[in-house]
Symmetry: C2
Subunit: 126 residues, 2 copies
């Protein structure tokens, strides 16, 4: 069975709390990670919570990266959803783990859009 998308569901624990509290830092790291993956940025949207914490999504031509941070727990929920064979989501993931200084991480990889179609017919966006 072939699938249209690859979705990494990532839990980053014991991150640098000051760093994940600030929208400017989190946005820069996510955008750098997207570029490293060779994905094409469509639009980034980031939001600073009061008193701290960040939500952000980078819509890419090949799906999206998203992050939600809880600085009070040192925790980030990260999603890397890509399609096509050309995107290096692993490189982006390792970069972010280092950048956020996560002491531990769990990753689940899901196939999205698993369809019963002949392999030659599978088309990816864009």
């Amino acid at each position: 069975m072939k699938s249209l998308g690859k979705h990494l569901i990532v839990e980053l624990y014991d991150c640098n709390r000051d760093l994940i509290a600030r929208v400017d830092k989190v946005e820069q790291i996510l955008v750098d990670a997207v570029k490293l993956s060779k994905a094409t940025i469509v639009a980034p949207v980031f939001h600073q919570f009061n008193p701290h914490g960040v939500s952000g999504v980078v819509v890419i031509a090949e799906s999206h990266f998203s992050i939600h941070t809880w600085p009070e727990y040192g925790y980030c929920a990260l999603d890397i959803f890509t399609c096509g064979e050309l995107i290096d989501s692993d490189a982006a993931l390792h970069f972010m783990k280092e950048a956020f200084q996560a002491k531990s991480m769990s990753v689940m990889e899901l196939k999205r859009g698993t369809l019963d179609i002949p392999e030659g017919e599978l088309r990816h966006k864009p």
Copy 2:
């Protein structure tokens, strides 16, 4: 164990292909679904692919809704990531299944940010 977020990972199959091809329709349905869930919209970002297909994310104060559509297969990848006890993600999900005229659906519910902390101390954004 308590968790910070609830993440519904939804596969919508055999949707109305014309409808999921058009960004205006998809955005309206997603925004209506967010409102129905009682979440607070921070910013929507939607992108029309050429010749067809849509990617979109609505960042909410309680995390995000995202969608990626493949009209050529009648398929939508939908994610509903919320935090707090006040958001009715099930209502949003059922509304979208009907609106996109999906003939079948699979849903996986994940807990995100499962932390070993006393229940009384758990805080949700915003």
